[in-house]
């Protein structure tokens, strides 16, 4: 199946956009998750806020997806 080079490059670029943003988001979420668990150990009511803070970086992936 012959595919134009430009099409391939576009696909590749999309892949990089999603992949890189996903890695970045995962990294950020890991850091926040650790901090959130730490905070919860001190004060259990912080579960809700911790959960929300943890998913905030997901936005990065969404932006990556939109751009892709």
């Amino acid at each position: 199946m012959a595919v134009e080079l430009s099409t391939g490059l576009v696909a590749l670029a999309s892949g990089v956009a999603i992949g890189a943003s996903a890695i970045a988001a995962a990294w950020a979420e890991k850091e926040i998750g650790v901090a959130a668990i730490g905070a919860m150990a001190e004060k259990e009511e912080l579960f809700g806020k911790g959960l929300i803070l943890t998913v905030i970086p997901e936005t990065i992936v969404i932006f990556g997806l939109v751009i892709a």
């Binding site: 579960f47 806020k49 929300i52 997901e58 936005t59 997806l65």
Partner: protein, 619 residues
Amino acid sequence: MLRPYQMSSVIITGPKNIQEDVIKEIHKQKVLHIVEHSKNELADIGMPLESASRLSEILVKARALIASLNIKKEENKFELKRGLLEVESTAKKLGEEVSANLDELKKAEALMAKDESVKQELEILKNIDIPLEYFTSYKSLAYFTGYFKDEGRIATLKEELSKITEKFMLLDSTAKKRSFIALFIDAKLKENAGDVLRKAGFIPANFVNIVSMKGNASSNLKKIDEEIKRLGKKSEEIKKRLESIGQEYKPFLLAAEEFLSEQLEKAEAPLKFAATQSSFLVKGWIPLEQLQSSIERLNKAGKNKIFVHFEPAKKEDKVPVKLKNPKHAKPFEFFLDLYTMPSYKEIDPTSIMFLTFPLLFGFMLGDFGYGLTTLALFIALKKLMPKARNFFNVLIFASLASIFFGLLFGEFFGFEEIAGFHLPHILSRADDINGLMYLAVGVGILHINLGLLLGFFNEMNSHGILKALFAKGSWFILETGIVLLALSALKIIILPIYIGLLMILLAAVMLFKAEGIRGPIEIPSLFSNTLSYARLMAIGLSSVVLALIINDSAKEFFHKGGFFILAGILILVIGHTINIGLGLLGSFLHSLRLHYVEFFTKFFHGGAEKYRPFGMKDA
């Protein structure tokens, strides 16, 4: 709806001699949210009632019994007939009985542990047939006991030793590839023999537990085994006895614990009061609806010797919040419990979330089949776990929204047609990705503007119309400016470009005026927030695509026929189960996040204390 219950500030004062009656009445009413008094120059905090120390002593005893008898908390209908006296005497008697049993158990277990270590030593010695009393301290004789790693050493060892002296006795036995030896030798030669042994790789082992035992190891071993068996039986018996005590007294202890904590709560209530030498003062909040009847009953209980002052909440008061929502929206208060209570003057967003949360959730998990499955699942789970009722009610509403969106998107477990019948749809998520994204962002714009509108009313209530216009109205001007700018730049309407720009500038200035530099800095967040709603598309799409992949790979198997049909069915079941799980988690969290982060930041401050009336148990 949208507003919490109206609260009235209440101050109750009276002489100390009726304090206890008043506390009892407050506890019975369960409507007064007590504001704790902190010590100042006018009044100290009150002293607990006399009974408090006795109560807490018995409570500690009862809780210790519950812990040591391994009693689990559960619904309990046991009635204490004679109140505190009964509880005290029974708890004391029971405490003695249980601790006697526990002591006996501990003793038996300690003996057993000791016997076990003796047994270990005997096991080693059982193959060497010498009386145990030989292992004692001598004047002229020394002995070594220990191991060699490999068996071949014994012969060479004998040779080496005979070079030093002829008077020695070497006993050995081999088990599990290790040789155990006992060497008796002249005390004067102890050091020389030690050197020889060390060179041969000797690992010494000491026997401390068999001192004072007589006879050979195997006969002792038999005795010890019997002893261990006897002790084990005994400790089993004690455990059984304790268990039956636990079973018998479980209802009593649970009821006693509840009764005592309630009594103690009452006895310690004065710690929250302000007190002088002969009077007390309680400050708190009562919902306006219950105020009248509550005061009447308080006066009756206080024999008209108390004075109750009440007034509506003032602006600067920190009012505890009791949310007021219709029954169907009530489960959604769960989300505010998780986040923070809205402050008293603020709009309570529960009823709005009742509509918007399932909508956003359904948009993401919009599949008729998935919706039906999760609906059935959550109805079943709700029956199984009545404690998490609220949470499951939320999810049931969300599942209904999934079913609804499944109809709109024409999806049934990812299929868009069943048996040749094409499901009607308004928008196909798998094919029209761009359309889906525009729709998602459109939903976002609506949601955010709803938030800004609520923010406008909140600001108007707390700071007046002018502040509301500057802080929140400016966002609407900003949006209009952006739309005009875009339309005129695209030449859709004929209007000079600077009009749009001017409106954006005006909005920025208004924001600066209202909130300082933080205002204009927030402007780009409008775009990031709006784009964030693209997740409605992204999560939905990933769920659809996964479902399609599962269906396609199952189809391959079905075509092959025969045994492969079974594999195909397995793929369908497992695949869709995983996809539903992922979809639920993703859709729930992201719908929640869109509310907390994008929606709430437009109007919600929160931070109020939850209304917790005295005497009410936490649900």
